[in-house]
Every structure is written in structure tokens, then in C-alpha cells.
Symmetry: C2
């Protein structure tokens, strides 16, 4: 079990009850830009992408897979409107963890807080990797960095969204994949 999922398991044990579940059909939004993010989503089935819109163009910035966690984190933390959209890529089922009980749990013991601190540190490191991806000049370089870090991506996510994530056209990505 990955550390984030283990953390959710401990959350449910602490609450003594399972989280609320919800289904989203393909294309449906878990969170919209300008809404306030009130949940953490644990993906039981399906897939989700987070994207940002600038000058009417969509930039895919994160993917959520089965057994991973996603939300619009800055909005969840600050309770300011989200900059991001979260959208189901296919029929998707999630567990939803609301904010207040989540933070009560985070602060429920030293060990839990330590785990959360390590999870947040891991997020910082992976976000820095992502920033360096974006600054890597050559499309091949960006592709290779991400392929090494997240091979799962290419099994689960439609090519057009991976191309958006890598800031290249689907045609360029197809060419890199086949060469």
C-alpha cells in the first residue's frame, strides 16, 4: 500500500467509519475553477486530471490514478477559490474526505502528524520535479524525465492529455514514443 493510501486507511480507522463515496461519469467535474475545494479524493476506480486554463488553453498539470489521492490542494488549504479544474477521465469512483475532520486527524497524534509532514515533504519534492520538467527545453528531455518517474502514466492516461502535461503536441509525443 502506498503511503498516501495507508494514511487514508488510518483516517478511516480513526473515524471508525468508511468515507462517503461518490461516482463521477466521464467528463464530469469533481472541482471547478473558482469553487472552493472542500475534499480530498481517493480514487477507487477510474482516473482524474487536474488542469489550469490560461488564455482559453487547457494545461493538464496532474493525474490521479486508481489508489491515488488528488484534490485542488492550494484551495483546500487556503479555502480560497481553486485555480484548477478536476475532471473525471472516465467513469470514476472516489472516497471523499472533508476538510475539518481531515485536519483533526492530522493533528490527532505525533505519529500521524509526522506521517503527514513526510507526505507533504514528498509533495514538495515531486512538485519541484514537475517544475524542472516544464523548464526542460527539449521535448525528448521532458518525455524521458516523466517516463522514468511515472511509467504508469502511459498505461492509464489518453495520449492527448499526456501531451498537454508534457507541453507538446500529440503528434510530437507519438513520434517520440515510436522512435
Amino acid at each position: 500500500m502506498n503511503p498516501a493510501l495507508h494514511f487514508v486507511q488510518l483516517y478511516e480507522d480513526y473515524q471508525g467509519t468508511d468515507c462517503q463515496q461518490r461516482s463521477f461519469s466521464r467528463g464530469e467535474f469533481l472541482t471547478r475553477s473558482c469553487e472552493i475545494e472542500r475534499h480530498i479524493y481517493v480514487i477507487l476506480k477510474g482516473g482524474v486530471r487536474a488542469f489550469y486554463v490560461s488564455d482559453k488553453e487547457e494545461f493538464t498539470i496532474r493525474f490521479g490514478y486508481k489508489d491515488s489521492i488528488i484534490n485542488s490542494l492550494a484551495s483546500f488549504v487556503s479555502q480560497q477559490p481553486s485555480d484548477l479544474y478536476l475532471q473525471a477521465l472516465r467513469s470514476t469512483e472516489v472516497k471523499m474526505i472533508p476538510r475539518a475532520p481531515y485536519f483533526d486527524f492530522v493533528h490527532s497524534s505525533f505519529e500521524i502528524l509526522k506521517m503527514h509532514n513526510e507526505l507533504m515533504t514528498g509533495v514538495v519534492v515531486s512538485q519541484l520535479e514537475r517544475e524542472l520538467d516544464l523548464l526542460t527545453t527539449s521535448p525528448l528531455g521532458r518525455y524521458e524525465r516523466v517516463l522514468e518517474r511515472s511509467p504508469q502514466l502511459f498505461q492509464e492516461i489518453p495520449l492527448k492529455y499526456i501531451a498537454s502535461y508534457l507541453r507538446m503536441t500529440p503528434e510530437t509525443l507519438s513520434r517520440l514514443r515510436s522512435s
Copy 2:
């Protein structure tokens, strides 16, 4: 006192001794790419930039000012070689906090760990802002986002490095500044 600096003050109180200090002259490196980051740097005087090199081009990704904290965080956490260079922008004095006593301190009490967890959460949120900066299509949009968030930048950092940070030419940045 900002939260990060307050945290350092508590670290020194806990150690019962002041941190080691070191001076760097302009252009000197605090950390080089491929080195392992062993310290956190607290800037007492001067300024520092962090940059990443891709295809021989330098991309400035962070700035450290007086009374702020900087290091190559991913390397500091993982003890893998740094992707980044940290370089003094002018004559700079720093306090240096080594890794092992730093983490001992982070785990020294629930309250300290809670503060650290909040600091890391703040880093996550600011890194996401930075990612959206990079994806904002128009140079004016990128400039305005950063001006609103970090007006201090334009007081302290040479224009050519701000331009690199904003992914535009110094000429474009000058034009946006004067219009």
C-alpha cells in the same frame, strides 16, 4: 518575524547555540548541481538565486532575500545529487543549519512538528503558484501574477534574473515595467 525565520530562532534556542555563519562573494556557489545539499541557508545579508540548467540555458527558479531561507530542498530531503545551483547574487552572509540536527529539531515536539508541517504546506502552495506562473501564456499575465505575489522581487533582484524567472527576455520585461 516571518514564520520560517521564527522557526530558525526556535532551532537556535533548542540547540542553545547560534548557527555557523559563512560569507559568499558575488557569483560564488552555495550549492552546485550534482552536489548533495547538506544545509539550510538563512540569509542574513545579500541575495541568492537558485537555477536549473537545461540544454546549456540557465533557468532561474527561486530567489532568496535577506531574512529568508533557501536550499536545494529535494536534494536536502533525499540526499540525492542536486538538480540546482545556488549562487550568491552579491556579497552574502548566511547561517547554515546542517541536516541531522535540523530533523532532530523538527521531531523534537508536537508543536514544532506542527509548525514544520505548516511551513511545508505553505511551500506546496507557493510551488503550485509557481507552476501556474510558468503555464500562464502571456508575458503580461506572468508578470502581473508575480508582481502581485512578490513585489519585493523588483526591489532586490537584477532585472536579467527576474526576466529569466519569468521566462521572457530582459527587453520584454523592461517594456512591461514601463507601460
